[in-house]
Amino acid sequence: MPDAVLAGVGAWTPPRIVTNDDLAAYLDTSDEWIYSRTGIRQRRIADPGVATSDLAVEAGARALKSAEIDHVDAVILATTTPDRPCPATAPDVASRLGVTGIAAFDVAAVCSGFLYALAAAAGLIATEVAGTVLVIGAETYSTILNPTDRTTRALFGDGAGAVVLRAGRADEPGALGPFDLGSDGRYAELISIPGGGSRQRSTGRPAPDGDQYFVMQGQPVFRHAIVRMAESALAVIDRAGWRVDDIDRFVAHQANRRILVRVARRLGIPEERCVMNLERVANTAAASIPLALADAVADGRLRPGHRVLLTAFGGGFTWGATTVRWPDITPA
């Protein structure tokens, strides 16, 4: 049975930078307030008219170039912010990347989406449905945030990251390790967009004002994120046959600096082994892990041979983790 092996990585963020001070100009917040609670200084925001697929195509093209290929057998796009409710965005992204005719679908697991998509891609490879898969996480959260909500406006940014997986062997550098995935739908409402889906549409009435926006209850999410990411991470460390001391780089979903520090502390991973780029790009949901990987490779924090632990937590609730020994690849 073929194993999924990392063959390329790429990322793209929109050029426009919005700093905490920019937000403080019209929201009741401040750089100190945001930074002390989140570790975020700025975020990238897509210009009007730029959709998730536009970011996905940019990141996807860079990952293909990094892998030195121009064709894949499947495209999986993890996103909370598809271009439209129907159809999925992945087929459009695939065609614009020049690979019309292949399998292409979206994965909706909010901030855990990239890990879910990686697992799905590994499954396509293991079953020999595909020999190569482009996995993209892309988001334009700026399109779903309430302009007057100082909390979510401060937390989220736009961006995209992607990796190419190919069929290979488990003992190769870049081979994905065991996966742990989980969910708990009892907490669905704590991270949600209440309106616009069949639950609201079935009432025959328009969505109450504000229900078209993303809402999150910070305190319970904070607690569950710490507990679930730590548990999920421990599960894959154990199944990979690693010890915590073996982990060279810890790349968690870039939700909030304080969550990441706390998860690392629970696991016993020193803070200097934690990859963080949220100070510059904020929380980019499904895009955050591949964006952090691409950033860390580009600036030398992540090097070939490193044992890397990935974990994420997001709306649903959903969570997951996997491991990989970093291969010799560089972002295009």
Partner: protein, 79 residues
């Protein structure tokens, strides 16, 4: 005899970097620079230390050490 107040003080000093000299019965969490997210962590630490679940919003930045001890005790924390 160790009290709930003393154990909470110890926990804030050892796990949350609060200065022991700043902890007084009337000091609020806000004055001790513990915000709402830090208080979620305090509730988690209380759970680990005392084996008692404290809800996410039961401790607020406005609570004083004294009123926080009352919340913990009401939830079943004892020494």
């Amino acid at each position: 005899m160790t009290t709930v107040y003393e154990r909470l003080s110890d926990l804030l000093v050892t796990k949350f970097g609060v200065s022991a000299t700043e902890i007084e019965p009337d000091a609020t969490f806000e004055e001790l620079e513990l915000d709402s997210l830090a208080l979620v962590e305090v509730a988690m630490a209380v759970q680990e230390e005392f084996g008692v679940d404290i809800g996410d919003s039961e401790l607020t930045p406005k609570h004083t050490m004294t009123s926080a001890v009352e919340v913990l005790t009401a939830n079943g924390v004892s020494v």
